[in-house]
Symmetry: C2
Subunit: 712 residues, 2 copies
């Protein structure tokens, strides 16, 4: 209850500025809604021209308000706002909901007006919700400034950048009849208060059991992720993010930079912070409800109990697609089921009772109890006609069905394994299903939604078990800083030998390299590097894309070969970039063959430093099969990146590839995370390729793009 | 109306064998349902012990039935069936619905019983539905043998292998209130009549506007695909196929064989036949309804009209994910919209009216008419609050909203472009939405469903435009047949030189090859092949996996290299397979570099010959990024295979690859299609790799597995 927004979002007094006697106006409807719902605090309509509105005495001006009103709903046009906000602030109003549009979302003049309003708020101490917001409600405080009808108080808190999305959720809840809401906020332009502020409020609000967000874009992504993580440790957080079709590719100097900012990156970072991401709008409420009512799963093994083969099959399909497993039932479980069920029942998961429950639906509850006890089972999923037996077969079955519902409710109450019920009859709302819902067991009207909830419960279980893992950190290496400052002062990015030195400063192992500035040094270098096949690359601050410039030669043996290669490289680079300052060529031993991966970092304008991992070549460039995490990484984050990519099997030795040392890659990810966290001068970093093998990994090419400290 | 099943599925008379006076029994409920619904034909309860049931006189035995009853519903246990079916057949009963389970789905004894029943049916001329079926209904004939309540007659025909799925659809239709059904059949074990038979009936049934199928598995896949294609030419066909999690990989001698049979192959073949495949159970009815009511789309360009930004964004996301495009609106359209809308409206697709319709919802109808006229627009999609304006804003808006609904209905009636309406208020069923539905315009309760319908309308449009394209065929090459017969007689698969000869017989261009049986022939071969880098492969009927055996050497230059390579190959192969009969080694010029693809064929036990196309290496083996089509291929089928794969960009030159000659690949696919169609002796075929380049493609390796004619 420590949120600074508590007075504003659970106010004791509300002023409606621009109150109206016209029943079609928002300034009327809001007051009507407060009176209708029985808001317990004071309501002050403010209007210079009216005497009373809906029986309430009207206050003629902001200055005539009592000192320290908690919340003002401002219904007047954009142009009035800077002045009104300043006056409200002066009068001690704590927060204002600004409905008007016509600010930064429209044009530059609007943005100026918004800034003036924000300045007025900052100097007078009032906080702003909006502008361009659909408003707020807090149903437990009977504060419903949207004057929405037919919404009931409940556990679901909502922050939605679309008023229509809120309306859609409210209508969906009205239609299914069993979901209620706590607080809603439309963040609008997020001029002052933003997503992170509202989420912090919901995290601390005892009336909110689950926070759900519809997000188009974040303003302060890094702060949001931190608040999201703190929230997710306390209660579930469901996010529906739009923008999947936005151009994800950016102009950038690194592969990582080009892929960062994508929709996929947004989802990776949200999940890393513990949010449950849904990808269809009709999943928001079912998933939020399930997460708020059911215990988290300790694993991903599901036992399915069905009273018909078809839907058992469909459930299996959807479970597998969602990354969940059909639990392998223990011998005890199968024996116990055999006692309960008819001989034709299938005792292999999915369990099909095959008519055993037609005459006695309590059989289902007995089976669920058996499945719940099995140590190989993390979640139990009932699929089929339950709730409709008396409708489908015979009315005389209702008492047995109600008894079964009671048993299921009891079972869930005494178990920490989730029990999910999908019923064909969900839409019909028969009494047994109403009883289940009253007892706090959600009932789903589609197999898909129930499966999505199970996946979310399992994912949240993993998050909570891992949440204690600290991000890795290490001391700042002053030598490393010096390399960066030197480059910055020279107005250039790191040369490859410098990038390698930087990495070595953080204990990254790299093959030895020699920078050859003069042709006379080639012989000594050949000997010093052990007279083995070498790679040669141009070293020039002006040539970022070395291969494109013809600046790379591989597999060179002997000094003659080195001599020719150097000539060829210098000629090609001079042709490619005649003005380029060339330091020389760098020689390194050829890396042994292995699996090429890429590890990179980019500073996202919204989310700050993010790291990327993927397999090299086609996988990154064509399939964008990469994983992102925000910096700093925990060990679990790093391991999660390896586990996430679709081509993960390649790391495990698919297609005759070597089984690679994943631990070495995780270590490398963590070292790079520490490096980039310590040095804000690094704008982008690509280690590409890194060659992963059974006995470790080695960085073959390192590119570091720098920025002045001022830029971050 | 020519379906042989018409007397059975639209019967004039029904016998209920195993009729019962017990109200909980199926033999009672079916009669009750027929009476309740007003079935116009004769109903004959058959039971040796009862006199009357529900007021109907009971017939004591099958032999006491009048001659030629159309349909018998048999409610007695499995063991009675062979005898009963024989007696029914003798009495001239045309068809029987066999409810009993306990046949081939259970065990070998059940399978024997099923065969005995089938023999009885075949010899007496009666047709069987089931056994192990949930039953049938034909609501237009008031024949409802499932005695389902609250289902209404309509256009949706259903064939479902799961009774619960039918029940689920019926309950969903009951809940949304606007979808009706024509005929339902549960195919059960498909002992006699199968999916193809029922689908043919629905195709010819004038009461059925759309056929929907829930399929777990097909028995005669090839016939089904042909019937599906014929059906899809007449009316939409929606298929929900379960089994996505079945092990798709089979033991096979070819890559194609290993990947065929997969769920993905099933979906490819269904789509090729013109079916609309849905992947979520809650999409079945919305998609079926949309396809049955709306015109097909002539392209994939959608204009979105929204009264709120959030859902416009979500619609854009989902459209793009579904492969649809946001239409680029013409200048005329934007001008016309500008006349109608307020200045703050967004005139770029998605069009956001931004409050322009709040006080007058007819504005939406005006905009829809403008968008509908735009030549760049194939479909128009209204998103938002329409239908709820009077609920959300003011009751006085209802007349305008009803007028808008009337205009929209008119618009659709006079247009061949689909108009889709998603409303937040769909669940609430306000009057304007009821009017839309009465006028034959579907209203969707989720953006996702509406988008799925648009994708289906566009896909069906493509199918119908392409449906005229003939499959390619060519004369059987007698030389080719001889090669196959020789190998079959020798009890072996084709040697590679034979496979190459076979392909040449169908005008497939291959690089020259020489089979070297003796070391003395190497010199001449080197000269004959042009003294250029060569590949050498072992030729042995006993070595299928040549690389595994060490039987391949590449890039050989000069006779010394050839000599050494031959030694090495022979030694390796003798070590690998000491008993192998080795014909010699085959020499071919090295192929120029290019993009490796695989073209293959496998005879699927269900669907017959299917062809596969994919990119080589990782794409096939790790990502299973392949496309399947059933043989024979049309040119559109072949082109569709290239267009379908995820790595399609590689063919277009991504990552610096050469832009390949796709036409050459299409030609090759068509030639192979003709080849395998003409020669049933070919069991599996892999051309792997085929190297595709800008100037054509060349087959580098060909493997042909044969089967005796008896096997097909």
């Amino acid at each position: 209850m420590t949120s600074p927004l508590h007075p504003i979002l659970a106010p004791q007094s509300v002023a409606v500025i621009g109150a109206s006697a016209d029943p079609t106006k928002r300034g009327f409807k809001a007051i009507q809604g407060l009176i209708r719902d029985g808001f317990a605090g004071a309501v002050y309509p403010v209007n210079p021209k009216e005497q009373t509105i809906l029986g309430l005495p009207v206050v003629p001006s902001v200055e005539a308000l009592p000192e320290g009103v908690d919340l003002a709903l401002i219904c007047t046009p954009a142009a009035t706002l800077p002045d009104l906000v300043a006056r409200c602030g002066k009068q001690g109003v704590k927060g204002a909901v600004v409905l008007a549009s016509g600010f930064s979302e429209v044009d530059a003049a609007g943005a100026e007006l918004e800034q003036a309003m924000l300045d007025a708020a900052r100097s007078s101490g009032i906080r702003l919700i909006g502008p361009n917001t659909s408003g707020v409600f807090n149903l437990h405080s009977k504060l419903n400034l949207l004057a929405l009808q037919n919404v009931k108080p409940g556990k679901v808190g909502i922050i939605s950048q679309s008023g229509n999305m809120l309306l859609s959720l409210a209508l969906e809840a009205q239609s299914n009849g069993h979901i209620g809401f706590s607080t809603y906020v439309g963040p609008g332009n997020q001029s002052d208060l933003d997503f992170a502020d509202y989420l912090q409020y919901l995290a601390e609000d005892p009336d909110t059991g689950v926070a759900t967000l519809y997000v188009e874009g974040f303003k302060q992504g890094q702060r949001f992720l931190e608040v999201a993580r703190q929230t997710a440790l306390k209660k579930p957080l469901v996010v529906y993010k739009s923008g999947s079709t936005e151009a994800g590719q950016r102009a950038a100097s690194s592969h990582t930079g080009a892929l960062a900012g994508s929709y996929a990156m947004n989802l990776d970072l949200l999940r890393q912070a513990g949010a449950t991401v849904v990808s269809q709008s009709d999943e928001i409420l079912p998933v939020a409800e399930g997460l708020s009512l059911l215990p988290n799963a300790q694993g991903n093994r599901v036992a399915v109990l069905a009273d018909g083969g078809g839907q058992a099959t469909i459930a299996s399909d959807r479970l597998s697609e969602a990354g969940l497993e059909l639990a392998e039932l223990s011998a005890e479980t199968r024996d116990a089921l055999r006692q309960i069920l008819l001989p034709q029942a299938s005792l292999v998961n999915p369990v099909d009772v095959a008519g055993s429950s037609d005459a006695d639906p309590t059989v289902l509850a007995q089976c669920l109890a058996v499945l719940n006890r099995d140590e190989n089972v993390d979640m139990v999923f009932l699929v089929g006609m339950f709730g409709g037996y008396s409708l489908r077969f015979d009315a005389s079955l209702e008492p047995a069905e109600l008894a079964a519902a009671e048993s299921m409710a009891q079972l869930q109450q005494h178990s920490d394994k989730p029990l999910l019920v999908y019923s064909l009859y969900s839409h019909v709302k028969p009494l047994p299903l109403i009883r289940l819902r009253e007892a706090g067991l959600p009932v789903y009207d589609s197999i898909e939604h129930a499966v999505k909830v199970m996946a979310a419960l399992a994912e949240r279980g993993v998050f909570l078990r891992r949440a204690a893992a600290p991000a890795v950190s290490a001391e700042i290496q002053s030598g490393a800083t010096q390399v960066l400052i030197t480059a910055l002062q020279a107005g250039r990015n790191l040369l490859e030998p410098e990038a390698r030195a930087l990495l070595r400063g953080y204990d990254v192992m790299l093959p030895e390299e020699i920078l050859v500035r003069d042709v006379s040094e080639l012989d000594a270098a050949w000997v010093q590097l052990g007279a083995q096949p070498l790679a040669m690359k141009v070293v020039s601050e002006d040539i970022l894309h070395k291969s494109d410039a013809g600046g790379v030669k591989l597999n060179l043996q002997g000094t003659d070969a080195l001599l020719q290669a150097r000539e060829a490289i210098l000629n090609a680079c001079r042709a490619y970039a005649p003005q380029a300052r060339i330091e020389g060529v760098m020689l390194t031993p050829m890396s042994r063959a292995g699996t090429e991966v890429i590890i990179g970092m980019s500073r996202d304008p919204v989310f700050g430093p993010v790291m990327m991992f993927g397999l090299g070549g086609i996988f990154v460039e064509l399939l964008a099969d990469v994983a992102f995490r925000s910096v700093p990484l925990s060990r679990d984050d790093a391991a999660g990146m390896l586990a996430q990519i679709k081509a993960q099997k390649v790391l495990q030795g698919a297609r005759g590839a070597e089984v690679v040392d994943q631990e070495a890659l995780i270590e490398l990810l963590l070292k790079v995370s520490v490096l980039v966290q310590n040095h804000p001068q690094i704008l982008e970093l690509d280690l590409n390729p890194v060659i992963a093998r059974a006995d470790g990994c080695s960085v073959v090419d390192a590119r570091v793009i720098v920025q002045s400290e001022a830029a971050h």
